[in-house]
């Protein structure tokens, strides 16, 4: 892998609300290299999006605040640079693709206008040049008849085309890091595959690092190089893509993989959900947030967050269950029998 773009150490983002402190992200660490794709997976409310927004200082303050951790973009600390500098980082160094393309384009501005604006914010380009670049970008992301399409409004675009336009806008300033926050959630399945292709293609062309936030493991399997599994604001497991899919160590990761539909299942078979509800982020247990839903719970799980345990090259897990017991437990699970060593 290439040059290190981003180093996040012990990131904690909390929201100070009337009801109490919502600990959305607690001590998350990860790194991102050039041309690398990091998948962040986890269910709703696990802190994926908040972690990504913290990078761009887009957490509304108040009530939100990054309370701990260091966010290094190259050698710049994203926590201490001025508001003016962070505005230059946004869009230029780190760009973001949002979840719902139907609502993330401004309905009263022409598509070309919105892309051109992003270009003119960060590059010294005239309006005409910026519009020409906008048309080229639309063409690059696979929108036919781009020269005509730049003059259209978002409501004249279909969902898939809008997401393409969002991608064009995000890559317009050639960012080092592209954050895609559930880019395919609002799209139907055939369009999803196309959008993932476009993101991958743009990553190759611009040599960016991509952070892909999703709860769709299928998407992760397709393009991610490494995966971080988040639960209750914590990283429970991280590792290379093959490690996570073929050698998962955390019971939550097992649950996620186990709840996927499989080709060898008949249509009558029910999917296997993870029992219980995600934890209340205001009243998180001091130990592992997965307690109460985990079938392998131990007394120590409740009180203390386990140390990071390195279980392989670039593969770590935070779990109290000893490694040999984990392997045994995993072997009894239907889905992992075939991989069990």
């Amino acid at each position: 892998m290439g040059e290190r773009l981003l180093t996040v150490e012990g990131l904690s983002t909390h929201f100070f609300t009337y009801a109490g402190v919502v600990k959305a992200v607690n001590g998350v660490s990860f790194t991102l290299d050039r041309k690398e794709t990091l998948g962040i997976v986890g269910e709703s409310g696990s802190g994926k999006t908040v972690a990504a927004l913290s990078l761009m200082r887009l957490i509304p303050d108040p009530p939100g605040k990054v309370v701990e951790g260091s966010l290094l973009l190259g050698d710049r600390d994203l926590r201490t640079i001025t508001d003016e500098e962070i505005r230059q980082v946004r869009g230029n160094d780190i760009a973001m693709i949002f979840q719902d393309p139907m609502t993330s384009l401004n309905p009263v501005l022409k598509i070309g206008n919105q892309i051109a604006e992003a270009i003119m914010l960060h590059q010294d380009k005239s309006k005409g040049e910026a519009w020409r670049m906008a048309a080229e970008l639309l063409d690059r992301v696979g929108i036919p008849d781009a020269a005509k399409r730049v003059n259209q409004y978002p409501f004249e675009f279909s969902g898939g085309m809008r997401q393409r336009a969002m991608i064009a806008m995000a890559i317009s300033c050639n960012p080092d890091i592209l954050i895609a926050d559930e880019p395919t959630t609002a799209l139907d399945v055939t369009i999803q595959a196309q959008i993932i292709d476009v993101i991958e293609e743009m990553q190759q062309a611009y040599e960016s690092g991509v952070i892909l936030i999703t709860h769709d493991l299928g998407v992760v399997a397709e393009i991610a190089d490494k995966v971080m599994v988040m639960y209750g604001g914590r990283t429970v497991e991280y590792g290379g893509i093959d490690e996570i899919f073929y050698n998962p160590h955390h019971p939550y990761t097992w649950g996620l993989l186990g709840s996927l539909p499989r080709l060898d299942q008949t249509e009558k078979t029910r999917l296997t959900p993870i029992k219980g509800q995600p934890p209340d982020l205001i009243a998180l247990p001091s130990g592992c947030p997965f307690v109460g839903r985990c079938s392998y719970e131990r007394p120590e799980c409740r009180d203390q967050w386990p140390q990071l345990e390195i279980v392989g090259p670039e593969h770590g897990v935070n779990c109290w269950i000893p490694e040999d017991e984990r392997r045994e437990a995993r072997a009894t699970l239907l889905h992992f029998q075939e991989y069990a060593t």
Partner: protein
């Protein structure tokens, strides 16, 4: 940047592109008509509302009448003496006692369509020239109110917190005062005069635009495209005035149409009370005030025509405003 062809993914790419354009064709074919922009769509629905169209026509005619001097200047036709208004058949302030026997004016005739007043001045000419004052008051006073309201309203809604409280409590103060009394107060401080009327009405009506807009800003600022703009590195001011404000304008257009009618009435009221337009210049309110006493003496024509002009204008703005509101209301879309 490598060329697209070198991506090694040519097959997928071709497939992608063709799929999009095909889908697109299907969409265009089945929707039956080209999608319309906001204004084209609004106009299509406004056209069906006859009252609103009548209102719009009246507004256009009155604006044209009010602006004759400017239009004539523009095309180089203005040969009349300054201040007369090109369409007026007689100088509006020319006194002619022969036309006012017994000081009661003379009734409508072919040479004086609306009759003459107690000083023998042509009422038709005066009414025409007063149109200009009324239109100016409507447009300029509302513009002043809009400029203040559409700067403070969005800032108030976008930043919230202390900024919001200060601006909105100030607006409350403006709402709390009786309107006419407040205008009287400002006019007394500024002194009578045309520009002071604009300023007084403008300063007093900003609060309703600001409050109306603040509400829309509160809902629009939570939209994803605002966050997307922030993620692009746009500054607060750019976000407020380029991304948020244009999306909150629909109710404002309606308020403008209504507000112009209101401003015209306020000017008439001020002139009626004697602190608006100063004699010998004519304004509808001033004319109504001056001529009212002659109504009892049987000279009905003096007060009737400016009253009709005032009523018709205000009616036109309000019916157009109502039509515009219906046409822009998404809940009424068919």
């Amino acid at each position: 940047m490598p060329d697209r062809d070198t991506s090694g993914n040519q097959l997928t790419e071709d497939l992608t592109v063709s799929t999009v354009s095909e889908l697109d064709l299907i969409e265009d074919k089945y929707s039956g008509r080209k999608p319309l922009g906001l204004w084209a769509d609004t106009w299509r629905r406004l056209k069906r509302n006859h009252l609103a169209v009548v209102g719009l026509c009246i507004i256009v005619v009155f604006l044209a009448v009010g602006m004759t001097q400017e239009i004539a200047n523009l095309v180089g036709l203005n040969t009349g003496e300054p201040g007369t208004g090109y369409l007026a058949p007689y100088p509006p302030n020319a006194v002619n006692y022969e036309l006012s026997p017994k000081g009661l004016g003379s009734p409508p005739s072919w040479s004086h369509l609306f009759g003459t007043d107690y000083l023998g001045r042509d009422v038709f000419s005066r009414t025409l020239v007063a149109t200009r004052i009324s239109m100016l008051v409507g447009v300029i006073a509302v513009s002043i109110a809009l400029i203040i309201g559409l700067i403070l309203g969005p800032i108030s809604g976008y930043y919230g917190g202390a900024v919001d409280s200060v601006i909105m409590r100030t607006a409350d103060v403006f709402f709390a005062f009786p309107y006419i009394l407040f205008v009287l107060l400002i006019m007394t401080v500024l002194g009578p005069g045309l520009w002071n009327v604009f300023i007084a009405i403008g300063i007093l009506s900003w609060a309703s635009y600001a409050r109306l807009n603040r509400g829309s800003v509160l809902s629009v600022k939570a939209m994803e495209y605002v966050e997307a703009a922030r993620a692009q590195g746009a500054s607060d001011l750019r976000i407020i005035f380029r991304h948020v404000l244009p999306n909150t304008m629909a109710p404002i257009y309606v308020a403008i149409a209504m507000g112009i009618g209101g401003a015209i009435v306020t000017e008439a009221a001020l002139s009626f009370l004697g602190i608006g337009i100063q004699p010998p210049d004519a304004s509808w309110g001033k004319m109504i005030a001056d001529y009212l006493t002659y109504l009892q003496a049987g000279s009905w024509w003096m007060v009737t025509f400016p009253s009709i002009a005032l009523t018709v204008t205000v009616f036109a703005f309000i019916s157009f405003g109502n039509g515009l509101r219906d046409a822009t209301d998404p809940k009424l879309k068919e």
